[in-house]
Amino acid sequence: MANLRDIRRRIKSVKNTAQITRAMQLVAAAKMKKAQDQALAGREYADQLNQVLVNLKENVDEESHSLLERRDGEKTLTLVISTDKGLCGGLNANLLKLVRSEQNEHTTYATVGKKARIQLEKTGDEIKADFVVADPVAFSEARPIAKFLTEQFLDGSYDKIKVCFTNFVSTLTQTPHCSQLLPIEADKLAEKRDYEGVGKDVIKETDHASAMSNDYEFEPSPEVVLDTLLPQYLNFQIYQMILEARASEHSARMVSMKAATDNANNMIDDLTLDYNKLRQAAITAELLEITTAMKAME
């Protein structure tokens, strides 16, 4: 049986751990709120963008644009958006499981976040590019990523571009998700994006009837508008996905740190009980010794 000093030491160390996990939990909670607000703030923009796209769709030949062109090849570039730091439960493990299940011999990766990169490097998968984004993420940071992916698609290196990230459903639930970025599927353009977890109800199915009642003119021409709008759309998609991933990361971290804090506190309670028992036993033993000694002297 452990002696008193050992138990005291353990209690102290567990207390320290609890303090750290509690601090991390609070930090993650604050960051989660921020990430969620940021994702929600982008909603308006998404709404407007969708509306313009619906109108545009009717006016241009969709297949004519190079970003919409469907190819038969199998070569896929998958962008995996993971976290930079650990201690966020099974978040990255779940994401990677999905990534692996979608993998075939034509898959190459690009990564955002350290965790996915390290894992993919370990298995010897080819990583074409690695991006680092700040926290909180700025819109301008999505542009180089979108640009890189677009280039890879346009110069024919890859026939499909996919993005895998963790979708934020609620504070307690985050689900990994893979979706196709390029070629842009024209039918899906204006529809509600199914992965959008944060404030799911805000984006309504764009109201076709109301959009169609306006006979839009395009200035300077539908093609020019489409040419500038699609890259913008991609930038925004990447930005939104990173935001989703960030919101997931922080809520997963908050939940797992809360669990860790609770566990540590339980452990402290147990250890304190053991400690007191042991101390009581020691006192009893001592008393016993004194009484026995007294009895012997009589």
Binding site: A41, G42, Y45, Y216, E217, F218, E219, T228
Partner: protein
């Protein structure tokens, strides 16, 4: 009255009724009044002006789009700054950086060059707005 909405990917900048709007369109400045024909236009970095209660306000916006309907103008742009939000020294520095980068960009990288030119134009538009009222 005309409903004007200005949104960026990061937040909603403006939403109110105004009496007229002037947009920096791809084909030159464009004035929009109530009951304008439905229109979608690309926007270049420049100055957006609107009149509310007889007062004219101006914002420097980046590139983007505007959707015009009879009773509403929605502006989607990278950024939108009022006069007071612009830091002259910072803008000048940013512009200089972008210009330096532009010189280094290779001829093949047309997209990067276009992006840098747009950045410079945005900075220039902000500076112009800031210096106008002096």
């Amino acid at each position: 009255m005309l409903q004007l909405e200005i949104v960026t990917p990061e937040k909603k900048i403006f939403s109110d009724t105004v009496s007229d709007v002037y947009l920096p369109g791809a084909g030159g400045e464009m004035g929009v009044l109530e009951l304008h024909a439905a229109l979608v236009t690309a926007l270049h970095p420049g100055e957006l002006r609107y009149e509310k209660d007889g007062e004219v306000h101006a914002l420097a916006i980046g590139s983007g789009f505007a959707e015009v309907t009879q009773e509403k103008v929605s502006v989607l742009t990278d950024s939108a700054y009022g006069e007071d939000d612009i830091d002259e020294a910072a803008e000048e520095a940013a512009m200089k950086r972008a210009e330096e980068q532009l010189e280094k960009v290779s001829a093949e990288d047309a997209e990067e060059a276009a992006y840098l030119q747009a950045t410079i134009a945005t900075n220039a538009a902000r500076l112009q707005l800031k210096r106008k009222h002096r």
